[in-house]
């Protein structure tokens, strides 16, 4: 058994609805945060179990691949662990963690941006791609998403795929909720435009 393996029940999974409800901290989370702050490793392990799916979704919305999302999640959790003494237990842990994970993902996306865009553009231009229409559409969408700035991509995916509100997205990305909303509008338009251009 892993030394940090939590002793929380196996059905202790993240519930997206519960986690997105701002302002209310679930009792389990409060308990785990308390343990973690006391230095009990089971506390943080429980928090990992509780929040890893949501953290993955946040990271995946920003970076371009599943592998990068995993890296950003691991990096984010490690940074959160090391900054735990600065966490305010009166705040929802998930919101704090998601912001750290979003920063880790943005950092990773910026470092990898040029290479990834080149790779994806090449894959689109290649005549040997998957002939199936779905696969082609998927590839086009991935290429179009890669063309978008990280923030625009993140706002679209966090809102349209993950169901976060503008305010939650704003908190995660460090921008006002109104800006997140406006970004979403412009990012959708840009994405459609890119997809149209690729079709031609």
């Amino acid at each position: 058994m892993h030394p940090l393996r939590p002793t929380v029940p196996s059905d202790f999974r993240s519930d997206p609805q519960q986690l997105t409800a701002s302002g209310r901290i679930p009792d389990e989370e409060r308990e785990l945060v308390g343990l973690a702050l006391e230095g009990d490793s089971r506390g943080f392990a429980g928090l990992v179990r509780l929040h890893q799916r949501r953290a993955y979704a946040v990271a995946r919305a920003i970076v371009l691949s599943h592998e990068d999302a995993e890296d950003a999640v691991q990096d984010g959790f490690l940074r959160a662990y090391q900054a735990l003494d600065r966490f305010d237990p009166g705040q929802p842990f998930g919101a704090w963690l998601n912001r750290i994970v979003a920063n880790a993902a943005l950092d990773l996306a910026r470092r990898k941006k040029v290479r990834t865009v080149e790779e994806l553009s090449d894959s689109i231009a290649s005549p040997f791609r998957d002939p199936a229409e779905d696969a082609e559409l998927r590839a086009r969408l991935k290429a179009a998403l890669a063309e978008l700035p990280e923030r625009s991509r993140a706002v679209i995916v966090l809102h349209d795929v993950e169901g976060f509100t503008h305010a939650e997205i704003g908190r995660m990305l460090g921008i006002p909720g109104g800006t997140a909303r406006s970004d979403l509008h412009h990012a959708r338009q840009r994405l459609k435009q890119l997809l149209e251009n690729m079709k031609e």
């Binding site: 969408l141 679209i156 994405l191």
Partner: protein
């Protein structure tokens, strides 16, 4: 009115595009995957506690580290600029005060103009000037 409508941002995305996005961004559904990720995260944390893993500094932590010295430097610069401006203002005020309160200095130029008045004996101005030139 049209312009105003254009500024209203709707929350409705394209359902087809949203469906495709959900497909592209679908998270792994296998429970074993999440157990594995959890183990990797906890192993990473354990390794960092033992000093085996070091976090790379990233842009926001670097900025965070520079935030305090940067603010202090900006504060000092602000104070210095304030002092310079204050001194300039004081000097300007002093000059204005002196200009207002001190009596004007009347310069007496060397070789000031001598006014030659016409003699009262009825001789002409021209003759008077001629006499003045001869006498110097």
């Amino acid at each position: 009115m049209d312009d105003r409508n254009d500024l209203r941002l709707t929350d409705e995305g394209d359902p087809k595009l949203t469906g495709m996005l959900r497909d592209v961004y679908a998270a792994p559904r296998d429970g074993a995957y999440w157990d594995g990720l959890e183990t990797r995260i906890l192993s990473l944390i354990a390794a960092s506690r033992m000093g085996i893993v070091q976090l790379q500094p990233n842009w926001w932590s670097v900025l965070g580290r520079w935030a305090a010295p940067g603010l202090a430097a900006a504060g000092l610069l602000f104070v210095a600029a304030g002092m310079v401006l204050s001194r300039e203002n004081a000097a300007e005020l002093q000059t204005t005060y002196e200009e207002t309160t001190e009596p004007p200095v009347v310069d007496v130029l060397p070789g000031a103009v001598h006014v030659v008045t016409a003699p009262s004996d009825g001789s002409s101005q021209r003759e008077a000037t001629f006499r003045y030139v001869l006498s110097h």
